[in-house]
Amino acid sequence: MVAPRWRKVGRDLSTHRFRTALVAVSIAIGIFAVGVVMGGREILVREFDADYAQAVAAGATYYTGPFDDEVVRRAGDRAEVSRAQGRHETTLRYRWRGSDDPATLSIVAMRDYADIAVQKILPEGDLQWPIDRGEIVLEGSALQVGEYRVGDVLEVETADGTKVPLEVVGFAHDLNAVPAQFVGAETGYVAFETLSDLEEPEYYNSLLITFEQEDISREDASRLAADIRSDVLEARGVAVFGTSVPEPGSHFLGDIFKAVSLLLLALGVLSLALSGFLVVNTVSAIMAQQVRQIGIMKALGGRTGQLTRMYLVTVAAYGALAVVLGLPSAALAGRYFTEFAADILNFNVTSYVPPAWVTVLEVSVGLVVPLLAAIIPIRMGSRMSVVRALNSTGMSAPSFGHGLGDRLLGLVRGLPRPVALSIRNTFLRKGRLLLTLATLTLAAAVVMSVVSVQGSINRTIADLEEWWNYDAQVVLGQTADSAMVEREVVQVSGVTAVESWSGHPVAYTRADGSENQSMSLFGLPYDTTFVRPRLVAGRWLQAGDTDAVVINSDVVKDEPAIALGQRFALTVAGEERSWRVVGVIKGQLSGAVIYADRDSLGDLLGDQGVNRVLLRTELHMDDAQQAAMEAAEQALDEAGYQVVSTRTQSGLSQTISEQLGILVTFLVIMAVLLAAVGVIGLTGSMTLNVLESTREIGVMRAIGAQHRSIYQIFMSEGLVVGVMSWGLGAVLSYPMSWLLTGALADSTQIPLTYEFSWPGVAGTFVVIALVSAVASVLPASRASRVSVRDAIAYE
């Protein structure tokens, strides 16, 4: 026969099913949060790394004039180069399923898809290499933005306006392609023979290489890339228009990925701490309910060690139940979460199994954390003297009226009696109040911080919209006469103003010989009204500026040597020229950009041509922007200009907002989880307060208090705790959101403008009031149902 004390443990668990479920769910939430967050993070990092290693990312990419296999071979023969790959890249417009709305397609052509040395492209599903002439394989991320199907025909428009049909024959995975949802352009792969159909020359125009040295620094990589450019490419007469040398071993979405990972880690630790608080509160509640029984058992000969073991087993049983609930639900949610993240970041996941240590951590959260959290309340309960246990109505001996704070509360006059009672009751059990406040405050602070981070993102986008004083932009495939293209576009219905700019890739050579080729130079009228620059230092361009440029803050960040008042050299169109920095403006999320007066720049380069047209519309609305842009594209198209890409500012705002929104989505998921932990914590705490106030409730009922009055007292108590948590949370959320926004800005390299969200604070007040009310309903209704007889019998 099982010893009665262990039967008691079993019966306590099975008799109080609701309580057992509540405790198990509380702990399971902790397991769930840790499992999803840590497990998700580990799977994402592992799978991303595996996919990245398999993809063989380029150490350097050259965008060039035509070259052939001989150049590729020469590059590959270099001792510092491990692999080399040539390919043809171009950007064209296309229509799909009869849509009138053309979209941008980045086309890549390779000679042999089955033997790619750098930036591997992996077939998905039933796709088999090779691709035949007239066929196209879409990069898998296209499915994130459109319902493409095998057999669809894309009508691709060539430079002279001919429409070439390409049949979609399958999908492929290319980790190094920018996902369609990030740039609003799909990537497609075609056979080399298809290039002639597209009126593209059949030669390579980009060279991708990887370096022999695996742990090469970016500086060394840049230097090597420059050497190879001159020794291999330029020495053979291949014009190089641009070179890209990314941070070695770092994916271009790695920053966002790191940010997500960092957030997940921070929130995982927070979840762990909160579930710890919750467990302490819950176990304290259970011990409080058991104090009298502990007294009886001690009176019957039960020793502290025996009782401690009994309650530790009880807590372990809650933990085991929580593990049974939490582990599979975390695995399931973790799988959805990983799929969601992998889809967004466009990488393949081959296994959803988290590493063993995550499972160990989950089980520890379920079993060890509750046991650790329970040790103090269990020790307190089981060591309590028999007389105190038998005479007690709970673990904590209420003590009110001695402290200064209590006396001050006692001096508050003019409040309705039930409200005064609720406020004073709140401070009756200070230890529990502190624990509940800590849980709810942290949850409230996280919620408010998330709102502020979202506010900061909105603010950053608003700043950006303030900079753009235009509605749409059309980029041309070649330079054109400024006055002529402007005349074509200004005639378009709905367009109220037009301006044209010239854009040039540039290279900046650092003092150590390495190069930065990821900057752009724009020539725009010095008196432009199409942008509203926000000056950080110096001045904007003015009439008579010849070699003056204004740089944005991204240039300063990337190249600290380029500063206000300094002269620096830039290679533009193959020639090095000296420039003088006259002003620094805030960055616009478009990387490092240098601005010069269009006409002066044209004079210097000997080419007054422009390659982008900016337009303003009458209504500035999304639809109007889109319609005007499409009409402008058509007008330019009909006038013989090749349009390579278009974008509306509202579309761009939305894309940026969505990119950053990915991070906010993760934050919101965690905030909701933490809020749930807070609600459960408050419910537990209120239940305990009701239980320990049973005698007072009896007395109040005996002297005439009605159900409603008792109900109001306990509802008010919950609200008082909620409002206090909101106040403390609001104070805490300021530094928390500032740090969070800073961490996000650092990891994404997007200079976010911090903005504390006061509407968020106000909104959270409403949410917390509601949440507190919900958390207090059950305990308050239980309190109002206590009969005088039961209350008095509850000694």
Binding site: R11, M297, A299, L300
Partner: protein, 240 residues
Amino acid sequence: MDDSVTKTPLLRLHDVVKVYDTGEVPFTALRGVDLEVETGEFVGIIGKSGSGKTTLINMITGIDHPTSGEVVIDGTPVHELNENQLARWRGRTIGVVFQFFQLLPTLTVLENVILPMDFCSMYAPKERVDRAMDLLEQVELADQANKLPAALSGGQQQRAAIARALANDPPILAADEPTGNLDSKTADAVFGLFERLVMQHKTIIMVTHDNDLAARVRRALHVADGEIAEERIHRPRHGA
């Protein structure tokens, strides 16, 4: 009862003082109480509410500690034991009966009776059920053994609590207002049970404010203001 059999007292309290720190003014519940009880005595402790009678029985059961003085029971200096030692000692030496029965609600009557044996590792596990059933037979509750306490009447619960108090065959039974929550007929039955136990040489110390019951015990101690104000020896009505 044969007084001549016992030479040394089973229970001895010497100059026991208990002061409660109730905040600003300390409250003295017992003021130097001296008491000796022999084996097989049936002692009633009587007094008004707040007189100190519950404090006195708590000193005997070790449920509470004296502020000063000595409590020696069956040769054990109870006042020197810590909580853990007290629990084990109490489980084997004293059976405690409470006014509100205090059966554990999630255990059956039988399991409640086995619980003290389990805590104190008394009797072989296989014997415990038989012994508990014997005890329940004695209190006429064998047919209720597998019910939960909530299914029993007040009198039945108190009889189950007495069976539980006897689980480890302690020489002493301490009962604090054991009939206080029972109607007079049930109270009489419970008292009769105590009388039968005394006949089996159990020593019973019972706190009560029921003067009729107090008149039926062998020895009645009247407690007032923390002192034993008066002691009466009654001639037993039922031949002991």
